[in-house]
Amino acid sequence: MTEKIPGPSWPSEAFEPYETMRPIPLGVLMIAVALALWGGVLLFDNSEAVAIGQAERAEVLADQPVRSDADGATLFAARCATCHQPNGSGVSGAIPPLAGSPFLAGRPEVPIAILLRGIDGPIRVGNAVYDGHMPSFASVLSDEEIARLVSHVRERFAARPEPVAPVIVARLRSELAGRPAWRGGQELAGRMAPELVPQPSPALTGSSKADPATMRLVTEGRNGSWACASCHGALGQGSETVPRIAGLPAAYIARQLDSYVSGSRRNESMAVVARSLTRQERVALGDYYALLRAPSTAHPSLGGDIDRGRKLVLEGDWDRDIPACVSCHGPSAFGVAPGFPGLAAQHPAYTASQLTAWISGERDNARQKLMNGIARSLDDADRRAVADYLATLPPVPAAATKGEGR
C-alpha cells in the first residue's frame, strides 16, 4: 500500500504494480442514494400503517357497527329500523309497530326487559297479534346504549321524554341474567306490565330438550365421534371457525351433516362425526339445535370495514353482481327455513372461511351453486367486511316449530 513516487529518471526495477482507484460509476452512486432515501421514507411511511393498525384495533375493540357513544337515534337506525321500520310503523302481520305501542308508554323497564331477553311467542300490540320473534340484544348492546335507545324510542313513539338511567338497565340485566326469551306477551305482560293483559297464550312450541339418546350425542358423544357440545359449546354458540349452530334451520343442519358424508362439503372432523350418525340422528340433532337460543358470542375480529360490510349485507354490490345477503337470508339475516341459514351473530372467522370454501370448492353444496358465484365476486377485504358486520348483529331467535318447513 506504500505509495510509489515516480523516480527522477527511469522507473524503478523494483516496480510494484498497483491499480489506480476505479471510481464507482456516478449512476450507481445515485441509485444507491435514491434507494437509501426510499428505505428511509418507507420506514417513515410504515408508521402510518402502524397508526392505521392501531385505529383498526380501537374500532374492533369498540365492537359495534355504530360507535358506542352513538345517540339513541343512530342506535335506532342501526339496530331497530330494519324490522320496526324507520318510522316505527312495524310490518303488518309480522313486526309490531313501535309508534303508539302501549309497551313503550308504560314503565321504561318494559322495553328494557324486551331488549334484554327478546321475545319468543305471540304478543298483542293494540288489536293485532304478532307471532313474535325478537332477538335478545343483551349480548350486543351495553347498559348505556340500551338506556339511550329506550330513551329515544319512548320519547319518539310514546311521548315520554324523561331519560332512562343506565342503572335501571344494569339492575334489570342482573335480575334477568341467564333467562331465556319471554314466551310471548303473556309472560312479559304478566311479569312487567299487568295493564297489558290479556295477551295471547304461547303456542305449543317444541322444547329444546331432545330425547335422551340425542342429548347423549350432544353432551357425551360416543366411541368414534366426539360430543357436539365439546366443540360447538353447550349452547351451540361455537367459536372462531367452529360455527354457531343454535337457531339454524333444522333441515339445513341435517343437510349439512349429509353433505359431510357425501363430500360436497369438506371438513374432515365433521365427516368423522357425520359418518357415525344415522339419518334419524342427523335429523334429531337438527331439530335440537334449531330450537336452541344462545346469546351472541361473536365479535368483529378480522379488521374488516364495518360500513362496507353493512352495505354488502343490506344492499349488495350490483356493480359486481353481488346481491344483498339479506335478499335471501332474510331482512334480519335470521335465515329462511329450510334452505337459507341464519347469518346473524355468526363468528367472523367461520363466515370468512366458508366464503373462501365456496371459491375453493371445499364447499359445494349450495342449491344451484348460488353461493359459489357470489363468493367469487367478493375480494378478501369484502369477505372480512361482511363477516365482521354479521358478527355485530343480534343472534337468531329460536325458530318456533311453526316456522320450520314453511
Partner: protein, 336 residues
C-alpha cells in the same frame, strides 16, 4: 512521458489530494442526483405512471357509450326537505307494502322487479324510466305522465284492487310525489331524448320452438323453486316477513301487469334470475320458465268489465295466457 508526470505532479496537488477533491465533488453529485432521482420516481409513482393502480387506459368512445348509466349512490342523498322526500320515496320503493300499505293489494315491492332499488340496468331501471316519460302508451292509448305510469304499477303489479282503499293512490298523492322525487334523483345527470343503454328489460327473440309451460316446469323446479317455493308462493322468514316474492296466486301481480306477459317476464328472467346469476339461463329456458309462471292463475285483471274473452280481445294480444285454456282451466278468472 516521465517529464509530463513530473510536471503534472508539480503543477497540481498530489494525486491523493486530487482524488479526495474529486471524491467530494462526486459525492455531492451522487447525493444530488440520487435525491433528484428519488423525487422523480416518487412523483412518477404518485402520478400513477409506475403504479398498477393508475387509471385504466382510455376506453374507446363506442365502448364507453355501451356502458349503462351510473346513478348516484345512496350516501349522496342531500339533506333537507328534498332529501327527505327522496328517502321517503326510496322507502316506498324498497318496502312498498309497508310504506304505501293503503294502495298495495299483494306482498310485492317495486324493488322485487326493479332490482337494486331501481338502479340495475336491464331490470327496468328508474333512471331510464324517468327520462322516458311523458310518453304515449299503447296499453291505455294515451299520453302517460310519470304519475300515470306509477299509477299503472299500483293498479296491476301491486294489485291495488285488493288493497285497503281498493285502488291506486289518487291523483297528486304524496306517494307519487315521493316516488318521483326518488326517481328524479336516481336520474341525476341522465340524458333525455335518447334511448338509454340498459333501459327496460331486454327484448329476447322468440325461440324457434316457441315457448311451452310444460318445458318450463323442470326449469322452474331446478332454477326458481329453491327461493320462490315449489308452489310459487315465495318464502318468509320466521317473523313472517316476505323474503322471496310470490310469483302467482292471490298475493302476486294481477293479470294486467306487464310481468304477466310472457315476453316481458322472459326478458326479466334472462337478465336477472336466478338472483346474482343473471344471463345464466338460455333464451329458451327463460321463455319456458316465463311461460310456466305466467300460465298460472293470478288476481283478476281490473280492466275486465264483461267476460274474460272480451277482455282478452281488448287488452291481451301477444304473449299472454289470459283467456287461454291451460291444463283444462280457463285462465283469467282470478286467484283467490
Amino acid at each position: 512521458m516521465i517529464e509530463d508526470d513530473r510536471l503534472r505532479a508539480e503543477a497540481h496537488d498530489s494525486p491523493r489530494q486530487e482524488a479526495a477533491g474529486r471524491g467530494v465533488r462526486r459525492g455531492v453529485v451522487a447525493l444530488g442526483g440520487g435525491a433528484a432521482l428519488f423525487v422523480l420516481a416518487s412523483a412518477a409513482f404518485d402520478l400513477g405512471w409506475l403504479s398498477d393502480r393508475g387509471e385504466p387506459a382510455e376506453q374507446g368512445a363506442a365502448q364507453q357509450a355501451m356502458q349503462p348509466f351510473l346513478p348516484p349512490e345512496g350516501h349522496t342523498i342531500p339533506e333537507g326537505p328534498a332529501g327527505d322526500a327522496i328517502k321517503r320515496g326510496e322507502a316506498i320503493f324498497m318496502n312498498t307494502r309497508i310504506n304505501a300499505n293503503d294502495f298495495v293489494g299483494n306482498d310485492l315491492s317495486c324493488s322485487n322487479c326493479h332490482l337494486d332499488g331501481g338502479r340495475r340496468a336491464d331490470s327496468a331501471p328508474m333512471w331510464a324510466a324517468w327520462v322516458s316519460y311523458p310518453a304515449y302508451r299503447k296499453k291505455n292509448k294515451q299520453i302517460n305522465t310519470m304519475e300515470d305510469r306509477i299509477k299503472g304499477c299500483f293498479t296491476y303489479s301491486m294489485n291495488a284492487q285488493n288493497s285497503p282503499t281498493g285502488g291506486p293512490p289518487p291523483a297528486g298523492h304524496d306517494v307519487y310525489k315521493d316516488l318521483q322525487t326518488y326517481m328524479h334523483w336516481l336520474a341525476t345527470g341522465a340524458p333525455t331524448g335518447t334511448k338509454m343503454v340498459g333501459a327496460g328489460y331486454p327484448e329476447l327473440d322468440k325461440p324457434d320452438g316457441g315457448y311451452d309451460p310444460a318445458r318450463g316446469k323442470p326449469v322452474y323446479d331446478a332454477k326458481c323453486a329453491a327461493c320462490h317455493g315449489a308452489d310459487g308462493q315465495g318464502q318468509r322468514d320466521l317473523n313472517g316477513r316476505l323474503v322471496f316474492p310470490p310469483l302467482w296466486g292471490p298475493d302476486s301481480y294481477n293479470w294486467g301487469a306487464g310481468m304477466a306477459r310472457v315476453n316481458t317476464a322472459a326478458g326479466f328472467i334472462k337478465a336477472n334470475m336466478p338472483l346474482g346469476q343473471g344471463n345464466s339461463l338460455t333464451d329458451q329456458q327463460a321463455w319456458d320458465a316465463a311461460a310456466f309462471i305466467d300460465s298460472q292463475e293470478r288476481p283478476r285483471d281490473p280492466r275486465q268489465k264483461g267476460s274474460i274473452a272480451d277482455n282478452a280481445k281488448a287488452n291481451h294480444g301477444g304473449d299472454s295466457y289470459y283467456g287461454k285454456v291451460v291444463g283444462g282451466r280457463l285462465l283469467g278468472a282470478g286467484a283467490r
